[in-house]
Structure formats: structure tokens, C-alpha cells
Amino acid sequence: MKPSAGGLRRVLPPLVLGIAALTAWELTVSLGRIAPFILPAPSAIGHELIAQRGNIWDAALASGLNALIGLLWGTAAAVLLAMVASRFRFLADLSLPLAAVLNALPIIALAPILNNMFESTSSLPRRLVAGIIVFFPVFINTLRGLREVNPVHRELMTSYAAGGWTFTRLVRLPGALPFVFTGLRQASSLAVIAAVVAEYFGGLQNGLGSRITSAAAFTAYPRAWAFVAGACLLGLVFYLATLLLERIAMPYRI
């Protein structure tokens, strides 16, 4: 896409708003309205962001890998189970409330329990938490997509005497793809949040979450916020990568 007047008009307002907010924040802190240990000035955070960029990068890679693995297995499980559930009405009806219960499970509660189930040097509990969080939005959306088949498509495939797996492969799965991506867009940011938050409960000290807690414990607030900013960027990267993948997977959507 080439930059256009419309594109500029879309980018400009949030950019202006963001700069205005940062300026207001900076002024509020430097004029002494908020104590720097409650909320450091953006300039202080920016300074730490640059000073710590190597550490932030390493920590983001560690957390990002956990989030990615969680995203992959959570999505695979959700799509496969949605395919199974969509074949049998009673399974679909049964699985929706079950998935809702799973979704209501707070990761805050889950993470410490999973942490204790594995060695303290294992990344597995974080990847499990991320996958469980990813499962719900992808499962719900995929199931809806698989069940919503255009009636004309259904009749056409019947007229071609195509049913069963042929029908699933040629109509139901491609038809459900936009729904899968609706779920993935929500899940991609959630996976990062889950992977980072899961680190708050001990275990390996290699990710963004553990860096945030340790910096906060040393009252190094600007550094803690710099790692928080790193987590935001990581979430954004996951989200944008999902959007890009969606474009590539569905070139027919214009």
C-alpha cells in the first residue's frame, strides 16, 4: 500500500494525541505534581529504554518465545477441537460452556499452581498458561465459523455429490478462516500478556515479567517501566504479525 492522504489522516490524529499525552505526562511529573517513584517521567523511562536495550531485547526474546509456543499449541488445539465439536451438535453445545469455564480461570490463579508442578528452571508452565489463554477466543470463533456455512454453498456441494471430508476441506475450513483470524487477533496480544504475567510468580528469571518484578523490588521504577514498555512493544509485534499473516492467508479479502 502506498501512503495516501487517507492514510495520513488515519495516522496523524493518534500520533498528535500520543505526543500531546507524553508532553502532558512529562510536565506533570517535572512540575512535581506526581512523585517520580509513583510515575517516572517519560524522559526517564526513555533513558532507561536506551540504556537497557540489550537486556530488554533478550528478555523480550525469552517472553516472546514462550508466548509464541503458547499461541501455536493453543491455536492448534482450539482449531482441532472446534473441528471435532462442529461435527456433532451435542459436542458443540457441551463444549461452549466448558470453554467458558476454562476462560473464566484466572491466569493469576493458574500460574503459581503450574509453577509448582514443574522445576523452577522450566519454561513449560508459562507456555502452558499462554496456550490456555489463547485457546478460548480461537476455539469460540473457529467453532462459529465452522458452523456458519452459506446455504447456497451447502446445496452446491450436495449437487456435486461432495460431502464429509471433501466438504470440510473445500468449504467449511476456508469459510471459517476469517473467524479463526478474528480469534487469533485477540489471542495474539493475550498470549504475550499471559507469558509476561506468568513470570511474576517465580521460576526462570529470563523474561520481561521477571525483569519488571525485580526492577520494582529494587525501587528502580524507570527501569521497571522500560521493561513494561518492552512488553507493550512485544504485544504490538504479535498483533501486527497476526494482521500480516491474515493478509497473506486471505488475499481475496479486499
Binding site: 452459506n150 447456497v152 454453498h153 446445496e155 452446491l156 450436495t158 449437487s159 456435486y160 455429490a161 461432495a162 471433501t166 473445500l170 468449504v171 476456508p174 469459510g175 478462516l177 486471505m250 488475499p251 481475496y252 479479502r253 479486499i254
Partner: protein, 255 residues
């Protein structure tokens, strides 16, 4: 042999329930090979139901349906017919080319066969330049032409169409009518065409079958004796207007 033979067919939906509907009652209809027959009648008189019975998308409560001398179920499995609906129903994730190829693919035709047949069909409906486009990039009229190309791709002896031009503007509609007739003449396809436009039925058909609702049945059959090929001159001719009047009277009498 007849293209379609329907004998004493009745169709009752939800029998024994509160929503019981007699969609068709004791319908007989025969279509000769190469014949173009239109079904016309008010909404709910069972036109779509009759077409779906011929297509074996539903099975009749009683009576028999034969296509090309075979029971409708066997004919469907043998892809003896192509079908098109009011909605083009293209698969939006497939290009125009791959949409038209789908029925051929399901018949197990080789890639080369599919390619050449699809090129031929797209040529026929005037969309050869759009083979690589996606449906979302086409206008409604173009999508409907792709749907017709797809319905004709296996060279079926029978073409079933349920208000295929219903959602199109008058200009596009008339152009597609002429194109459809040319295609059917060229391929020798028998056609059953559902419409609720009297002039469309008259312009296209060798025979117009008039139906009435509650219960759905055939109340009249009007033979249309107009010269072929049917062109703009035919549309303006007194004989055309006479036939329109005859069908309109039959529809009035049925109501």
C-alpha cells in the same frame, strides 16, 4: 428419452407438525431434451421446491422424479445437471478460474482438462480476462455469469436455474438472457428456469409453466411460439406481447 420426467409428485414439509406445509400437490411435468421451460408463479407456490426436487436436494413425499431416464438421486451423483441460484454463491476464497473448475475437480478431471474446459466456459460468458480475479472484485452481473459458467462446466445435459437474474438490473438482465439462450442453443442443454418476471419467461422459453400456491400446483402451460434466435426484434414484436398477455391471463386465472 426425456430430460426431466416428474410424475404425481407431492411435497409436504413438516408433516404432522404445526408447521405443516403442502408445498407441492400432485405435480406432473415433462421436459424434452434441448427444451427451455420456465416456471412462473407468485412467491410460495413451490417453484424452488420443484427445482430442488429435480436436483435431488430434497426427496419428494410421494411421486417420482427422473432426470435423463435415471432416478433423480442417481442423476445427481452422475452430475447430470448444473444448478445456479439467485445468489451467485461463488467461493470467495477461490479465483474465478478455480470456482469454475470446482465441479470438474470433484469429478476427478485432470489439471489440463480442467484448464481448457474452464477457459472455454469463461470465453462463453465473456469473462476470459477475469480468470485470475477474486469474486469480490467482480460486479453482481459478472458474478452471476461465473455462476452460470460453473453450472455449465461439466457440460451437463440439464441446467437448473432458480431466479438467477433476480438481483440484477434490467440492462444486465436482458443482456444475460440473450447470452444464456445463445449458450443453451450452442450446447444443446435442456433448461428449467424459475422466474417471476413474465417477460423474462416469455423471452427465454419454449414453454411457460404457470403455478399457483396453497397447495402448490401447475395450473396452466403456455407454449411460446416465437422465432429463434430470440433477439431485440423479437422483444418488440406483437407476437411477444401476445404471449406476455396470455401468460398474464393464466397467472390471473390461477390466483
Amino acid at each position: 428419452m426425456t430430460a426431466v420426467s416428474i410424475q404425481a409428485v407431492s411435497q409436504v414439509f413438516n408433516p404432522g407438525h404445526t408447521g405443516e406445509v403442502t408445498a407441492l400437490s400432485d405435480v406432473d411435468l415433462t421436459v424434452a431434451p434441448g427444451e427451455f421451460v420456465s416456471l412462473i408463479g407468485p412467491s410460495g407456490c413451490g417453484k424452488s421446491t420443484l427445482l430442488r426436487l429435480i436436483a435431488d436436494l430434497i426427496t419428494p413425499t410421494s411421486g417420482t422424479v427422473e432426470v435423463n431416464g435415471k432416478p433423480a438421486g442417481k442423476a445427481r451423483l452422475d452430475q447430470e445437471y448444473g444448478i445456479a441460484f439467485q445468489q451467485a454463491g461463488l467461493f470467495e476464497w477461490r479465483t474465478v478460474q478455480r470456482n469454475v473448475e470446482l465441479p470438474l475437480e470433484l469429478r476427478g478431471q485432470s489439471r489440463a482438462e480442467r484448464r481448457s474446459r474452464t477457459a472455454e466456459m469463461l470465453e462463453l460468458v465473456g469473462l476470459a480476462d477475469f480468470a485470475r480475479h477474486y469474486p469480490a472484485q467482480l460486479s453482481g452481473g459478472m458474478q452471476q455469469r461465473v455462476a452460470i459458467a460453473r453450472a455449465l462446466a461439466v457440460h451437463p445435459p440439464l441446467l437448473l436455474m432458480d431466479e438467477p437474474f433476480g438481483a440484477l438490473d434490467e440492462m444486465t438482465r436482458e443482456r444475460l438472457q440473450t447470452e444464456l439462450l445463445a449458450i443453451c442453443a450452442k450446447t444443446g442443454t435442456s433448461t428449467i428456469f424459475v422466474t417471476h418476471s413474465i417477460s423474462e419467461a416469455v423471452f427465454l422459453s419454449n414453454r411457460v409453466v404457470v403455478m399457483s400456491p396453497r397447495p402448490g400446483r401447475i395450473t396452466a402451460t403456455v407454449d411460446i411460439d416465437l422465432p429463434s434466435p430470440r433477439d431485440e426484434a423479437v422483444r418488440q414484436s406483437p407476437a411477444f406481447f401476445d404471449a406476455v398477455t396470455t401468460v398474464r391471463k393464466a397467472l390471473r386465472a390461477a390466483a
